[in-house]
């Protein structure tokens, strides 16, 4: 029996890319390990640049004064909360269709980070709402949908935790994520449908943003920083989940031996 299964031996016929090379936990594990530091570093750099732009380059807003600077984490966090749910639902769907273990692991690796960003979006939204609207919490369409999204994240994590068999837990949670993904459009269009108190989406694909360029730049850079961070966090958690679930396999034993 070969001492260590050489990943290189998985090479397909020459000239064809093996798309599925990193689809098994064993081959994905080292790749994620190498990628985490890079994404974490990118996140740190982008965050520093974004904060510099946000606080030292972007001018003061006419109506809101300095309170608007919360936008540099509120909007990116809200974007990330919805984006991560979509990515989670995607991997959940892939896991259901292709019955691949790693997809389910990736979905449950993403959920806590998504829930974190949803809570951050709600928290910063409340703190921003206090000076501008006068109350901590307003039952308007987008805030309510964001709250529902947080409950969907908790539902996903609770369902995964409640079922003992990891394979069935992944598949059940995956179906729930797909059923919940219907909620994402409701969040996105809720401002237009129920056109309530919440400020209309100042950045939308149809019309030019109603914000100064530097404000927009700061927000975009912070969004990229949050994105890099999410990838780093999800890969790191995925590695933990892989070790937990593949604990009895040989390659994990060899990895533990090597890292001792």
């Amino acid at each position: 029996m070969p001492r260590f299964i050489d990943v290189e031996t998985l090479r397909p016929a020459p000239g064809r890319i093996n798309w599925f090379k990193y689809s098994s936990p064993q081959t994905f594990f080292p790749l994620a390990g190498a990628a985490v530091p890079w994404f974490a570093a990118a996140a740190a750099v982008l965050c520093a640049v974004g904060l510099y732009i946000g606080f030292f380059v972007a001018p003061t807003d006419q109506q809101q004064g300095e309170a608007y600077r919360i936008i540099f984490i509120h909007v990116p966090a809200a974007w990330m909360s919805m984006f991560i749910y979509l990515v989670m639902a995607f991997w959940a769907g892939v896991g259901l269709v292709l019955n691949t273990r790693l997809s389910g692991m990736m979905a449950s690796a993403l959920a806590p980070t998504g829930a974190l960003f949803t809570f951050i979006a709600l928290w910063t939204g409340a703190l921003w709402g206090k000076p501008t609207w006068g109350t901590w919490w307003v039952w308007d369409a987008r805030l309510t949908s964001e709250l529902i999204l947080l409950f969907l994240y908790f539902g996903f994590m609770a369902l995964t935790a409640a079922i003992d068999d990891p394979r069935r837990a992944d598949r059940a949670a995956a179906l729930f994520a797909l059923v919940g993904v219907v909620n994402i459009p409701i969040i996105y269009f809720s401002v237009q449908w129920w056109n309530t108190l919440h400020q209309g989406a100042s950045v939308s694909l149809t019309r030019a943003p109603t914000m100064a360029a530097t404000m927009l730049a700061g927000m975009i850079v912070m969004a990229l920083a949050f994105w890099m961070y999410s990838i780093a966090a999800a890969f790191a958690r995925a590695r933990c989940i892989i070790l937990e679930r593949e604990r009895n396999s040989d390659w994990v034993a060899q990895y533990i031996e090597a890292s001792k």
């Binding site: 606080f55 004064g65 300095e66 309170a67 919360i70 974190l116 928290w123 000076p131 933990c240 994990v252």
Partner: protein, 58 residues
Amino acid sequence: MNWESLEAFIAMGGYGLYVWGSYAVTFALVALEVVLLVLRGRGIVAQLARIGAPRRRS
């Protein structure tokens, strides 16, 4: 440079509590998640090391 002095920067035009309240909580939560991830990683490796290699089938 928008700010004349550090005090103005911290006061944030009177909205210091809200702006720094949200930034502080955000980065505290992110730091907390990073710490939890590192602990979880080390914990699982240590646990598997303690348990030792599974019995060789051959």
